[in-house]
Symmetry: C2
Subunit: 212 residues, 2 copies
DNA sequence: ACCTGAACACCGTTCAAGT
DNA sequence: ACCTGAACACCGTTCAAGT
């Protein structure tokens, strides 16, 4: 397994003129469209370029390879996701831990479901390209925000919060992914989402410090 | 997104002579080796054939396309996983639900870790090919076995067991996957595995029927 | 019954030539 | 400064020819 040096994965150059900004936008949009319409296995640079209305050469002027293109699309999506969850965590500062759990789980699920097509297609395609690094960044932002949030709970203090938090977030990410992979994402908005929240609450409850 | 008709994904013909059984074995083995050594993006039919010591044509005599090859490798692995978990569930029939949770979670994690390389590489490559159907089959076998097991618990009865069981298994599958994707699979054998078991237990406890 | 490998269509990527 | 598209190497797949 060869790790792709991350440099090759950055955009080749920044657009400097209005014309090329439009081009890059069109390429992003076309990438998602091709993924949605034709599936990951038909995500070819030629197809994306054609759909974006430019030549392949142009695409390669902005993205050194197909990976970089897909990487950029993921980056936008994952940054947005991390932004939203961070904001939700900040908003809960000092509140009750049950509300925190609800906000964290709820926001994550909401964002994933708002863009359910993109979510699914990115889960599906995530492997044709090495996106692990990006996912790890997003994960760590959320982990940090969530840690700070739970540590600030007004109604409890927790033992081993870091480890518990790690587990809880992997539970959340993994469970949501399982439901998406199995095309059962709709259930997340209902009873299943609530079950996840109560699992969070029980686990937190069990980890409360009881100083004497 | 085009669903691959499942027929094209079956092995093209059954080997009838000792010679060809060996060939098919060699091809399976070579597939895993190439995946492990070169990564999913370099899994090419030519490479597999070469590593197996046969010509490409021979490979195509037994597998109609690259998908079918990868599909077959997954099938073996997932069948084995379902077999093991089913056996563990059967062994717990009539016991306490906490022991059941420990056995279910423990067996699943143990099998995944026993073959950690293959596990990781199959998670990684799972998308280059449509394997969703296979995963769904394995999942449903485990779901059925687990449902029967928990329904037989000697120390409790549960409300809405089917829904709860669905959530619990997606939690298990998803969480394990998250730790593997993040290359933190070792943690599953220790404290994290225990945390998953206690989350199972709290959720089950909360769902106990209390008839009056 | 099984195997071989040259041949074909297609994809990622490049680069000389254009505006 | 940006764009084009023919050209090249490589991969999936086929099939006529071999044992």
């Amino acid at each position: 397994m060869i790790a792709t040096p991350s440099l090759t994965v950055q955009a080749r150059k920044e657009p400097r003129q209005a014309r090329s900004t439009t081009t890059v936008e069109a390429i992003y949009e076309a990438t998602i469209q091709v993924l949605l319409a034709d599936g990951p296995s038909r995500l070819t640079t030629t197809r994306v370029a054609k759909r974006a209305g430019v030549s392949v050469g142009t695409l390669y002027q902005y993205f050194p390879n197909k990976q970089a293109l897909f990487y950029a699309v993921n980056q936008r999506y994952l940054d947005m996701l991390a932004d939203r969850v961070e904001a939700a965590c900040r908003a809960q500062h000092g509140q009750n831990y049950a509300d925190m759990a609800r906000a964290l789980v709820g926001t994550y699920i909401t964002v994933k479901i708002e863009r359910r097509d993109v979510t699914r297609v990115l889960y599906l395609a995530a492997v044709e390209v090495d996106v692990a690094e990006l996912v790890e960044d997003m994960t760590q932002r959320i982990e940090a925000a969530s840690n700070v949030m739970f540590a600030s709970a007004g109604d409890a203090e927790f033992d081993n919060l870091a480890t518990l938090n790690l587990t809880l977030l992997n539970v959340l990410f993994g469970t949501v992914r399982s439901f998406f992979d199995r095309q059962m994402s709709d259930l997340l908005e209902g009873a299943i989402g609530d079950q996840i929240v109560s699992m969070f609450c029980s686990a937190l409850e069990a980890a409360r410090s009881h100083p004497r």
